[in-house]
């Protein structure tokens, strides 16, 4: 189910603004890769190029190659809609569909994929909520609106919604930044559990979190405002946090940044 991502020579633009420059990296299947770096260095932008969400913004475009196993996501015959069905995404702010019930939120992606049978839907909805550590809290109120849950529960609901369609890759953009510490821990536990099945990429501004949950860490930086963001280095998390190759990385993780 999980696939390898291989990025080479990737640039992303917002209109005339060059947001990220020449990024190449490999993300291994069934592992957690964390993106760290100062804000504005293009972590979110890069993440969104991995499921072709970047181009949703008017004027935004991408150059370069993103291979998912043997397939180039930016190949001319590739439908971005199909890409997003195999590369799932969880956003910084929990964004359950406000008019849908908890059940329908989880089932939304399945219905897009043409799953219609009630029995099958029930089964996958329950399994996804179980996997997202949310089932016990919501099993008695599946018909209630998802927007009525707490922030942490909403974020786990969004994770359940994303994994219900069994994506190859799960992208998470600062999934805990709007959450309290307890909910944050719940989601970190969840990430640890999910990595046995998915290729996970997580953006975080919290270095302890990167150290706790990830196998590999990528450090991004910008030379200055208006400059494009760059990948400084990517390595095993333990190496990045104890003995990074680059001086900039060491400065950043030890807080001597800027």
């Amino acid at each position: 189910m999980a696939k390898r991502i291989e990025v080479s020579g990737l640039h992303a633009y917002y209109g005339g603004v060059h947001a990220i420059e020449d990024i190449s990296m490999t993300v291994e299947p069934r592992s957690v890769t964390a993106f760290i770096g100062p804000s504005g260095c293009g972590k979110s932008t890069f993440l969104r190029t991995l499921n072709r969400m970047h181009e949703v913004i008017p004027g935004a475009r991408v150059e370069g190659k993103v291979m998912l196993d043997a397939e180039d996501l930016y190949g001319s015959s590739i439908d971005p809609v199909a890409v997003r069905r195999v590369v799932g995404m969880v956003f910084q702010r929990p964004n359950p569909f406000p008019t849908m019930s908890i059940y329908d939120n989880v089932a939304a992606g399945l219905k897009l994929n043409g799953v219609r049978r009630k029995g099958q839907l029930d089964e996958i909805v329950e399994q996804s909520l179980q996997d997202a550590n949310l089932w016990n809290e919501v099993k008695d109120r599946l018909g209630k609106p998802g927007a009525g849950l707490s922030g942490g529960q909403q974020q786990r609901l969004c994770i359940a919604r994303a994994i219900a369609v069994q994506p190859q890759v799960l992208l998470m953009d600062e999934p805990c930044s709007a959450l309290d510490p307890i909910s944050t821990l719940a989601i970190e536990d969840l990430i640890g559990k999910l990595k046995s099945q998915y290729t996970i990429v997580i953006v975080t501004h919290n270095m302890q979190q990167a150290a706790r949950v990830s196998d590999r860490t990528a450090f991004f930086n910008i030379a200055g405002t208006g400059q494009p963001g760059k990948l400084i280095e990517i390595d095993d998390t333990s190496k990045i946090f104890t003995n990074p190759e680059q001086k900039a990385t060491e400065d950043y993780i030890t807080g001597r940044f800027g």
Binding site: V56, V81, R85, N95, P98, T99, M100, G109, L112, P145
Partner: protein, 327 residues
């Protein structure tokens, strides 16, 4: 409502500048502001009450002189002696023509709004939006002239076709489909209320939070699926509100309908046949020649129109409120 907001913001303003030396000045300003806000609120209420009292006062003598049932009678002869008039036909014509207008206009208007908001290239979008807004500003007499002089001529064929193919539907039945019918009036009204429905719906669609849009796109929704999952549910109350506003406009529309309809006494459920009248068209057509009693009768019918419009708005609010749990 207005008054309260005024008072609150005045207090908030006063609290922020509570420097010791300034205290009394701030208080005086607050009092003047609160006083004038309350005053203007009361004046508005008083004017409205005065208008209502005046209308009811004018209507009562006519209603007392009425020999027919005001609600159920289909006749309108308030100038005769004895006076006999009722609103049944007017209510029927008003409700039917405006409902028809709403049913015809809403899907088209929402389609236009969706196209402008999500499908057209950005440069085209602003131009199209501008044109739709301009259409809303065309005076209704222009639509009336167009409806009476141009459209009604071409409606004969359409009415005939509908009558022969869908004649089994009672409203579209009848033997002599014509051109100065409630149906034609409904089409003219639909065109008149299209811009307002479209323009409000477009505003609502543009307010859909990017987070909702991206939620469905990231799940692999196509543009249309995204519209169904994120845009339409979010915009539902707004769209209902917009089409109800259109309905209200259609109900109150006077001159265009008066120019299109040919008055034939009595309710005719065959909407394709000539005839029909609405509250507003009836007032426009008969006010000039009305006697004292006739004017009172027209005012009474106007009050009924007011009540119906009020009920429509309350129904719309009830529909919107029922969905609140999910929004």
């Amino acid at each position: 409502m207005t008054t309260q907001t005024g008072v609150e913001s005045a207090e908030a303003g006063g609290a922020r500048h509570r420097a010791p030396g300034r205290m009394s000045t701030g208080r005086l300003g607050d009092r003047i502001f609160a006083g004038s806000a309350t005053g203007s609120g009361l004046i508005v209420l008083a004017i409205m009450a005065a208008i209502a009292v005046f209308l009811v006062w004018k209507a009562i003598p006519a209603l007392q002189a009425n020999e027919a049932n005001f609600i159920t009678s289909e006749e309108w002869n308030p100038n005769a002696t004895p006076a006999e008039f009722g609103i049944a036909q007017l209510a029927f014509g008003t409700v039917m023509s405006s409902l028809l207008a709403m049913l015809l206009a809403t899907p088209v208007a929402i389609g236009i709004a969706l196209f402008i908001a999500f499908y057209s290239p950005r440069r085209l979008a602003s131009g199209l939006g501008y044109i739709v807004d301009l259409l809303a500003a065309v005076p209704s007499i222009v639509y009336g002239l167009w409806g009476a002089v141009f459209l009604s001529k071409h409606m004969e064929g359409v009415s005939g076709f509908l009558n022969s193919t869908l004649g089994w539907i009672p409203f579209l039945g009848g033997d002599s489909p014509g051109k100065n019918s409630i149906f034609t009036a409904g089409v003219v009204l639909a065109i008149m209320i299209l811009p307002i429905i479209s323009s409000i719906s477009r505003e609502v669609f543009l307010q859909v939070p990017q987070a909702h849009v991206e939620a469905s796109l990231a799940l692999g929704a196509t543009r249309w699926e995204m519209i169904r999952m994120s845009v339409l549910p979010y915009g539902q109350s707004g769209m209902i509100g917009a089409s109800m506003l259109g309905l209200g406009r259609a109900m109150g529309e006077t001159i265009a309908v008066a120019m299109v309809l040919t008055y034939v006494p009595g309710i005719n459920i065959h909407l394709l046949e000539d005839g029909g009248a609405t509250f507003a068209s009836n007032i426009a057509n008969s006010f000039a020649e009305a006697s004292e009693n006739g004017r009172g009768a027209l005012i009474a019918s106007g009050l009924v129109l007011f009540v119906i419009t009020l009920l429509v708005n309350m129904a719309a609010r009830a529909v919107v409120a029922r969905r609140k749990e999910f929004v």
